[in-house]
Symmetry: C2
Subunit: 291 residues, 2 copies
């Protein structure tokens, strides 16, 4: 999850991620567990003392053992909870299985399709992050290896209740996932009260990305709400997410009953936080409102 201006990698001890032209973060590795190239990207898994195992794609940290729960919970449960009855779920990307693990905690789910372009990510996650890739054998779970945009275009109107994009940065390769055109395809695939959830970048390091997602979604969906969560091992640390709804306003909903049934299994989200995270720091509010 970072600009990739330059990367230094020393297989024997250090792995460095470049955050901006002023800052880079170096991890002291205990062991390189995997380093390979799939058809789409470089995949690396390494072990650290403070963060446990870390997954890197194209030299950008995707998650670590110790804080993956924050990103996966906050990306997934917010759109799931905004929908009044999330039965049919589509996750685009997220081949590691973390978002699927969270979505399947909701007893309303009847089927969940994970559409991941890079099968190798699923393989590596099942091998090195078994506590994340818990859902691959769930009877409600279906893995679809292929292109997410094509899959969404091929869906019939109103086919799903919740769509979640668990993708990479808006690099030239992934920029198609951050456009009004794409959001129109998503809107069409969603049923009544349908809800869409996506990451919206770091307001510090990718303000243009944060603004873009909010602006383009607001053109297509009647209700769009931004919220934030802190992910210590993503450069930028305070990350923005958007939830876009065809029905209810995401803000001010009472989901205490649904949340109570799974709160013991969650490490980050709880009833109080579900509504509180929509309260944005002023500089972010001004940033997205200025357009």
């Amino acid at each position: 999850m970072a600009d990739k201006k330059s990367i230094a990698m020393n297989m024997t001890r250090y792995i460095t991620e470049t955050v901006s032209d002023s800052e880079f973060i170096t991890y002291v590795t205990e062991k390189i567990l995997y380093n390979g190239q799939s058809d789409y990207q470089q995949i690396q898994v390494f072990e650290t003392k403070a963060f446990g195992r870390i997954l890197m794609l194209d030299q950008a940290v995707q998650f670590t053992d110790v804080d993956e729960f924050i990103y996966h919970e906050m990306l997934t449960h917010m759109p799931m909870l905004v929908h009044p009855k999330p039965e049919r779920i589509l996750i685009v990307g997220g081949g590691d299985g973390g978002a699927a693990r969270e979505a399947l905690r909701h007893p309303e789910v009847k089927n969940l399709e994970l559409c991941e372009i890079d099968e190798k990510v699923c393989e590596i996650s099942r091998k090195y992050f078994p506590q994340i890739a818990t859902s691959f054998d769930d009877p409600r779970f279906k893995l679809n290896i292929g292109d997410g945009i094509a899959r969404l275009k091929g869906l019939r109107e109103g086919a799903v209740d919740v769509i979640i994009i668990d993708g990479t940065d808006p690099t030239p390769m992934a920029i198609g996932l951050y456009s009004a055109d794409f959001y129109r395809t998503i809107h069409r695939a969603l049923g009544e009260n349908g809800v869409f959830g996506t990451l919206a970048g770091s307001p510090y390091f990718h303000p243009e990305w944060t603004k873009l997602v909010y602006r383009e979604l607001s053109k297509i969906f009647p209700k769009v709400a931004m919220y934030t969560a802190t992910v210590p091992t993503y450069p930028g640390f305070l990350w923005a997410f958007c939830v876009a709804s065809k029905g209810q306003d995401p803000r001010g909903l009472d989901r205490s009953k649904r949340l109570a049934s799974m709160e013991d299994d969650l490490k980050y989200l709880n009833c109080g936080l579900f509504n509180a995270v929509f309260a944005l720091p002023s500089f972010i509010r001004r940033m997205i409102e200025e357009d």
Copy 2:
């Protein structure tokens, strides 16, 4: 603001802060503006592209131009707003003037004393961070160079309305600022409805510190509330703060009127956030409640 296990410093181009034994953050410097030793600590000021100027004390980043507002606003305004009428203010530490700048935005303030042990920090801040050290000539402002603990012990009972500690990490030198004994001294110095505000570490990197502050304060004050804010250039990123009150519970107060008068000048805090930040992620809530 970091464990200091090892530090690499190359005066020509890179300055590195050690976060833990698994991670360090390197800043690419454009220019070293100051590098000296006071009677108490090493003080460094350097320029970066992405963060502007950065102040380091004993090789731990204290703040940067671009995000100092988050820490200073969240440390200061929360206790100030919890107090119903904050007229007499004492800040211990904070020689840079950032907390004083924020506190003096409150029209209720009649006098503010800044008790800083290291005069050199004030000097350096006035020279290199004039937008932070704005309050030194305010008629309500009084600078007291000396030891904060001694100053607090010397105060008569009930002498001040709000006390804010703007100190360094709980290193052996500063550990006295994080004990029940010290909090008892603070409680005594505070008047009716008195409020105390302090940083409580990073729940990721200093869980013991976070728990210690909450536990020790809860022994002394009837109402203690923890809240969080994300400071991108503090390792740990999500930081915990505590506000301890002799009177009103910090949670659920309506301070919209007082906040509205200064909201245009603030970059982080606003009415919605004032109450929302007390909603803690579950792992932090469990951490402080387990004792």
